[in-house]
Amino acid sequence: MKASLFCTARYMGPARSDIWPLAGDVYSADVAQRSMETTLDQFRCADEFGFDWVTTAEHHYSAFSLTPNPMVMAGALTQVVKRAKIAVLGPTIPILNPVRVAEEFAMLDVMSGGRLVAGMLRGTANEYVTYNINPSESRERFAEALHLIRRAWIEPQPFGWLGRYYQYRTISIWPRPVQKPHPPIYMSGSSPEAGEFAAKNRIGIGFAFTTVPMAQKAVRHYRAVANADGWDPPPDQVIYRAMFHVAESDEQAFADLSALPPRVALTDQNAAISEAVRDTGYYGVQVAEQSQRNARRELADRIELGQVVVGSPETALAQVRRIRDELGAGILDLVVGAQLGDKTLRSIELFGTKVLPRMREL
């Protein structure tokens, strides 16, 4: 089993984390710069201590993440992270220009020497307000954009695209990806619709801010559809994301973690948007079940459900083993408790040196 470190590039100054969009009147340029530097330090640390991947992602109008364009952060990472793969999980492709996404991914693959992992996501509900895209079109836009991006990577001749949502008269991207036929692609596998699409298109899946039991059910569906389609996804085709913090002892790790503010999911930070998006059919057939992913829970429950990995290296390893055994995921994408200063760096070091070597044997 492999590990990735996910930093959202959180704004480290005082700012509300329960409202979207967040007003800029509390924003400090100095704090933002320090936040970026801290993020790069954490990524650098993960690379140094053996993490297999580093992860960046797209979110808008929030202190939760200062990477509205994760491609820019990934570009910086190509120069800072020397060994680990760089996973962009991902751009929210239904709200973006897919040709631009194909071009930027190709640039990153070249700049990183073929270390790009290309996530393509639908994003959280609020993202659709950002660029004024109707969420009811999300799934269809996603599918078309993904096919277009893949075609842009592999087609040797200039070509036009006559889509349902996208139209281009000629496309011929430069540079082109290093990895052949193209970088590995991952998408969210949380809903049955998504899992089916991924399986039929031989794409890896990822789970973020869900629970192991929910992910387990979704992985079974993904694998069943893949098997029916004639292939058997290896463990590396499944990414599971959990928050993590490791310290010398369980007591220290729990104490550190309790200093962090409670997380309110971006989806739940604006009730009107949440309701309006839900009404568009954005969540597919499992609306009620999907809303459970972000339900507020006590820390003990979150650990039990595999949402948080916390404790000493021994404890953390046991929790990781459970996730591996119950889910069969090959990649654990660990969300760093970013605001703990040196304790964050120590957590990354402890995980990399004490947990990761034994985790590889799982």
Binding site: E144, H147, L148, R151, E155, P156, Q157, P158, F159, G160, W161, L162, G163, R164, Y166, R169, T170
Partner: protein
């Protein structure tokens, strides 16, 4: 929107040539896998004269069929026309463009099988094509797969390649609005169709 096609015949040396016709304006000659007009043809017939020919029969080569079509079009008094070749009809469409470059405006190929068809001599002649060609391939087409598209672009001196998302082999039926839209654009503007004229203005 929909146009009524009328069944007609025109005499040629090789016998009467059956076709279906609708609309007024500059002519589009459709050579396809079927003599039955598709929804895309009806859309084109709203402002163009659309002539849908019967497919080439098994006893006739696409090259000689193209010669018969050229004669028939002269008989019909058509000195200028655009050509749409669909599926196996793309062979005769390309031969027609090669045989009558002065009369042919532009050529649209929809899911062409011209390079995998029975006319092996066509490939060697494509470099002589004087007319602009737009080659369309459905992303779900297994008969004329998208991977074939690059060959047309390489062999034809002025060929634009375009993929039609979520279309199978019968683009005229699967994505009629899309096919009619892009064919109209290409016939009207030829190579200039690369530059969009669609307005991005949200509000004046």
């Amino acid at each position: 929107m929909s146009a009524e096609f009328a069944a007609r015949r025109v005499a040629t040396e090789g016998g009467a040539l059956a076709y279906a016709e609708a609309g007024k304006g500059e002519a589009i000659i459709v050579i396809g896998d079927s003599a039955t007009p598709a929804p895309a043809h009806a859309l084109l017939a709203t402002d163009r004269r659309v002539i849908v020919l019967a497919p080439c029969d098994a006893e006739t080569t696409p090259q000689s069929y193209a010669r018969r079509i050229a004669t028939a079009l002269e008989t019909m008094g058509l000195a200028r026309f655009d050509v749409m070749g669909q599926g196996a009809g793309s062979e005769a469409a390309l031969w027609l463009g090669l045989a009558r470059p002065a009369a042919t405006g532009a050529i649209v190929l929809a899911a062409p099988t011209a390079l995998t068809g029975r006319d092996m001599g066509l490939e060697g002649r494509l470099g002589d094509m004087k007319r602009p060609v737009l080659a369309l391939f459905g992303t779900n087409d297994r008969t004329a797969p998208p991977e074939e598209g690059g060959r047309y672009r390489t062999l034809l001196p002025d060929c634009h390649l375009m993929f039609v998302y979520e279309s199978g082999h019968d683009i005229a039926a699967d994505r009629p609005e899309a096919l009619a839209f892009i064919a109209r654009e290409f016939f009207e503007r030829r190579d200039l169709f690369l530059v969009s004229r669609a307005s991005g203005l949200a509000f004046p």
